[in-house]
Every structure is written in structure tokens, then in C-alpha cells.
Symmetry: C2
Subunit: 210 residues, 2 copies
């Protein structure tokens, strides 16, 4: 690789990281190139696809942040506090970092490594959920799919309110958390039971919502 190409790739990575961070994984490629001070042709040249760019710029960072949050959640002695921390931290991430938020809610079905990451994150989520349920504090009918839906819904709200009332999401999350405690459960819930493919279809549809 020639030196100039290397430099351009670096400029593009930087610009991409910025724009993804500001606007999420759907930021226009042409705008990334513009910010990097480079023609969009060059971007296609050096990376070929949005996915490649995402892999180089978002994946590791997202993995680190998500791992950290899951770890921190499990570090709470109280299972409920851990669960609540986990939910709140992920929700907060959705305003502070739309790119990572897109990873969590599976908003970018195109990128292999992201799906892996998403899967790993769901696994941590499951562990945190199960711990809270075994401790008897989280209602037993709450599933990891429900958690993802919760996050998906919050993502929309958080983005809509972030410029006007940046903390609004805390209210709705607080309401929801109160409804997730074991003693809050009132009636049997309507069934969930999504198969894995169904689930990904749904998350894909959520993605189109952008």
C-alpha cells in the first residue's frame, strides 16, 4: 500500500469514527469522505463497503464498551441493581453513542462481525437477566428478546429527545424497570416465543426505522 493511500485510509477512518459516533451506522458514506477531505471514490476504493469501514472503526470499540458494561453489571452484589445498571447503561449509550447503540439493537444486519458482537452482547444480557431472576427480583417472564425490544424503543425516544430534553429517557426507563420487578407482575403476559430468524427479522425491521 502506498504511503498516500495509507494516509487517506487513516483520514477516512477518523472521519468515519466521528460520523458514526455522531449519527449512527447509517451516516452517508459521501459525507464521511467529505469530512475526510477525500473523494468518495477513494472511500469505495480503500474500503469497498460500509461494512468494512464499520469493522475497522466501530467493532472493537463497541466490543470494549459493551463488555465493560456487562462486567460492571455483574460486579454489583445486588442482582437487581446489576440488572438495572445494565439496562440504564445501555440506554444511556444510545444517546452518547448512536453507533454502539446500532450495534446493540442489531441495526446493521450487513456486517458479520457486528452480528457476532451483537450475539455476544445478548449472551451477557441473558446472564444478567438470569441472575436477577434466580435472585427472585426480576419477573420470571422477562426474556432477552424483551430486553432488546426495550432497548429498541428507548433508542427512538432517546434520539428524539436528546436535543430538547436529554434526560427524558430516564423517566420511561424508570417506569419500565418498576414494571419488571417480580412483585409488579399482575397478569400472565401474552406469549413471546420468537424463533431466532423471526427475531432477526424484527430487529432488521427496527433498523429500517432508523
Amino acid at each position: 500500500m502506498r504511503a498516500d493511500a495509507q494516509r487517506n485510509a487513516e483520514k477516512l477512518r477518523t472521519a468515519a469514527a466521528e460520523l458514526f459516533h455522531e449519527r449512527g451506522l447509517h451516516a452517508p458514506l459521501k459525507e464521511i469522505a467529505r469530512r475526510a477531505g477525500v473523494s468518495h471514490g477513494t472511500l469505495y476504493n480503500l474500503f469497498g463497503s460500509r461494512e468494512a469501514l464499520i469493522n475497522e472503526v466501530v467493532t472493537d470499540l463497541a466490543a470494549a464498551r459493551l463488555g465493560q458494561i456487562a462486567e460492571h453489571a455483574l460486579a454489583h452484589d445486588d442482582a437487581w441493581d446489576g440488572f438495572a445498571y445494565y439496562v440504564e447503561a445501555l440506554c444511556e449509550l444510545q444517546i452518547t453513542d448512536p453507533a454502539i447503540s446500532d450495534v446493540v439493537t442489531g441495526r446493521y444486519p450487513g456486517a458479520e462481525s457486528l452480528m457476532v458482537l451483537c450475539e455476544r452482547s445478548r449472551a451477557s444480557g441473558t446472564r444478567i437477566i438470569e441472575r436477577a431472576q434466580q435472585a427472585g427480583v426480576l419477573r420470571p417472564d422477562f426474556t432477552r428478546e424483551d430486553l432488546l425490544f426495550l432497548l429498541g424503543a428507548n433508542a427512538v425516544l432517546a434520539r428524539a429527545t436528546k436535543d430538547t430534553a436529554p434526560d427524558s429517557w430516564r423517566r420511561s426507563v424508570a417506569f419500565t424497570l418498576d414494571g419488571l420487578r417480580t412483585e409488579a407482575a399482575h397478569h400472565p403476559l401474552p406469549p413471546a416465543a420468537l424463533t431466532a430468524p423471526q427475531f432477526y427479522e424484527v430487529m432488521g425491521a427496527l433498523a429500517d426505522t432508523r
Copy 2:
């Protein structure tokens, strides 16, 4: 108005009603014209703007449905049942009729009459909320803005799941409702306090989410 123009207007109204119903108030005008079997020029000719079309095709219908739901909610003897019915009915509306859902969540800031309607609907909502709070069953820190956020979040979820798991929204709504009962309240909530203009700004942002 000439007879053929009248006929075309009617065809357009029909097509618009269908598409709005299927896809919400943001359905492309050109597609409405296409479905009506008429050039898009004619649409602009006869109606001039999307808002005009909405007024003729959605407003009354939406007013009727919303009025009916509010009335039905207040008809419940039990204040909680009334509130829960209201929330669930509105959420259900969001899959069965995206157009009306757009009205409720204020997704079309351009149309005057819709804003009036939206305001009226919020007023009914307030009545239903207050009744439940006075009966001591709905937590007193729940506001009508919170309700709108709830609906906005649900709208996204409902649309994402309607083809795959059409009843998923019922689960998340059930969780949330359980968290709204007086006895579920655990901690003081983060502040709400949106001014009216702020609130409309937020709903506008929610609209861009589409």
C-alpha cells in the same frame, strides 16, 4: 368543477385513504397518484399539498376513532381498567392504522387540523390519567407527556414487529403498565417538565424517526 376532475379527486381520495392507512401519513404522493391511476401532476392540481389530502381523508376518521376510544375508556367503572384499555387501544391502533397512529403521536406537524385533533386527543388522555390517579391506582408522577412517549416508543416497536410477531407489542405494553400502578413506584423519578414548545419539538423529532 368538471365531472372528470371530480372523478379523479375521488379516485385520489380513495387511493390516499388506502395508502395512508397502510403506510402512514408519509406515504409518497407519487405513489398515491400511481395507485389512483392518475398523473402526480393531477394530484398537486386537485389538492395542492399533502396536508389538504390528509384533511379530506384522515382527519374525520381519526377524530371518530380517537373520540370513541376515549369515551370507551371513561365508560369503564374501574379507573385502572379504563386507563389500561386506553393505552392498549391506542397502541393497537398503531399497527392497525398507521395513519391514525401518526395523528396521535403528532407525527404530522404540517397539518393544522391534525394538530387540533392531536391536542383534543391529549386532553382526553389527561382526563383518563387524572381519573386513574385520583382513584389512587395510577402512580401520581405519570404525566400525559409520559403517555405520549410511551405511545411513540410503541409505534416503532409495533411497526417493526407487525409482520413477524404482530402481538409482541402487547408484552412490552404489559410490562410498562405494570410499572405504572401506584404500588409499583419505587424511587422518585427524574424530572419531566417539558414546556409546550419543547414537547412539540420532541414530537417533531420523533416524527423524523418515522
